[in-house]
Amino acid sequence: MTALLIFAIGGTASASGLFGPPQTISREAGGLNTSIGYSYQEDKFEDNAQYVFRQNQVYSQVSYGAKNRWEIYGRIGVSDLTISDAFTSNNASTLVTSDSDFTEHWKFFGTLGAKGFLPINKIFGVGAFLQGSYYFEHFKCEVAGTDAGAPFTADLKVRDLWDVNFGIGFQATVPYDIKLYAGPYIYYSEAKANLSANIAGLKFGTQKISLENKSIAGGFAGIDVPLAKGFHLNIEGRYSERFSFGAAIGYKY
């Protein structure tokens, strides 16, 4: 837990979907498990300025694991994107009349990941995971206003959003096969952004800029509860500067 707190300082959460328990829920002999999940993410990106990205993600995941030791998984999902105050002007002659937030609806993303687990005893164990996501489509939002009295409209495009995460999880299996887990993780995420026209006073221009995550580390904690008939409920939270959370219901074949 100390490690979790240490790594939680100064970071913001970024990932596409949950990390999940370090130990696979697939059958020991090997088998699939699938899940559907929802995740709310917040992250802070920066170039010269800082931007808060907020995303609601819904995804479907298929995993294959075996021996209670390892698992590989893939996800396909959709996510929206909100960038707070992306269109605020620092020029008195430029007035933005549209919403100052960048908002775009559902776009597809994909995630691939793998995890390994090493049991210490019947209750405790430690595992590690590596997970990466990529957004296949670009996000686009229109900004409108007046520049020195002349009306303007422009599109801001955020494209090639991706992230990669690596973490270590400590797990405790308590009665009813409930798994509690927590650990630190590091990550990197990046996106390219550019405006369709140069507008004086706006942070973005026609030149493509690269936005990167402000911090590189965070902490996560979660619980995996076996439900009836092969279903599992997974709830997870990630905290750094802001709190992100998600839940997934999985089915073990």
């Binding site: 699938t34 479907s60 008939k229 092969g230 999985g250 089915y251």
Partner: protein
């Protein structure tokens, strides 16, 4: 121009599927007389139904003076409710047309497809297309006041779509969940309201049918979500994949039926009618068990 028309025709043929679809059903009816693995519509199921045996089938055949194949004979003896066949010359022509299309086109394509696509993938495709058949099964259950069947279908669709990766897998049929696919359609729904078969008709490409079951064919088109994809060749392409995929999983069924029969046309017709009758009986038994009295309606109207 000719090659263009030929290619369109080939595409449509693959998209809608020739005699094989109905032949599959018919083949099932023929093979239901013995425990075996048979194909029911789009799914492969294990039939555990006891064979319809007489006390001494050989003696009975001898007494009746019949020496036809046992399967067809059993079918003809059981199927006392014959179907009118006023269009027999047309139907026979369509039967041969479909037969040739199956052997010359669909079967070779399906065999090639089978060679290159592994069976688990083909079964996943079958599950996917079966999952898309949810609307017709769900509505049929509702129209038959089979609310438990409708609930089962809704549950199956939800579970398989969400946790079965869009229906590619069938977790709903697992031991734990036990949500089995409902064997019903609009033809059976009409039968449950007392609508009879009418006469026998063999549609080109679609195979054995009747006026009642032709309504089911139309319903299948309108209630299939794939029918509404644009442009027009997408639904045709997916239907072609469905037919070729299903055929690759049941190559040999139609051939067995044909080989076992003296007159394949009559064998297919009898098997088709018998199969539909059995489906109606099964639904009727289920409805009877649920306290719904459909027996009287069906018998009076001759809906068998």
């Amino acid at each position: 121009m000719k090659s263009y028309l030929l290619s369109i025709f080939l595409f449509i043929f693959l998209a809608v599927g020739p005699v094989h679809g109905a032949g599959t059903d018919a083949a099932q009816a023929n093979t239901e007389t013995s425990p075996s693995i048979v194909v029911v519509g789009e799914t492969v199921e294990t039939t555990t139904e006891a064979p319809d045996k007489t006390a001494d089938p050989f003696q009975e055949e001898y007494e009746n003076g019949e020496y036809t194949d046992n399967g067809a004979n059993a079918a003809s003896k059981e199927e006392k409710l014959e179907i009118a066949d006023p269009l027999e010359p047309f139907n026979r022509a369509m039967f041969h047309f479909n037969d040739k299309l199956y052997f010359w086109m669909l079967k070779p394509v399906a065999q090639g497809y089978k060679e290159v696509v592994p069976e688990p993938v083909r079964i996943s495709f079958k599950n996917f297309f079966s999952n898309l058949g949810f609307p017709i099964r769900f509505l049929s259950c509702l129209f038959q006041a089979d609310f438990s069947g409708a609930a089962t279908e809704a549950g199956r669709f939800g579970v398989n779509t969400i946790w079965g990766i869009g229906g590619l897998m069938d977790p709903a049929a697992s031991k734990e969940l036990d949500l089995q696919k409902q064997d019903t359609d609009l033809g059976l729904t009409l039968a449950s309201y007392g609508v009879g078969h009418g006469f026998y008709i063999v549609w080109p490409l679609f195979g054995p049918s009747s006026p009642r079951d032709t309504i089911d064919l139309a319903g299948r088109y309108f209630l299939n979500p794939l029918s509404y994809i644009t442009p027009w060749y997408y639904p045709l392409g997916t239907k072609a994949l469905d037919v070729v995929n299903a055929t690759s999983l049941s190559i040999g069924d139609y051939e067995s039926l044909k080989e076992a029969a003296i007159d394949p046309y009559v064998a297919l017709r009898d098997a088709y009618i018998q199969y539909r009758k059995k489906q109606i009986k099964r639904k009727n038994n289920k409805a009877g068990a649920a306290g719904v009295q459909l027996e009287g309606n069906l018998t009076k109207s001759g809906a068998y």
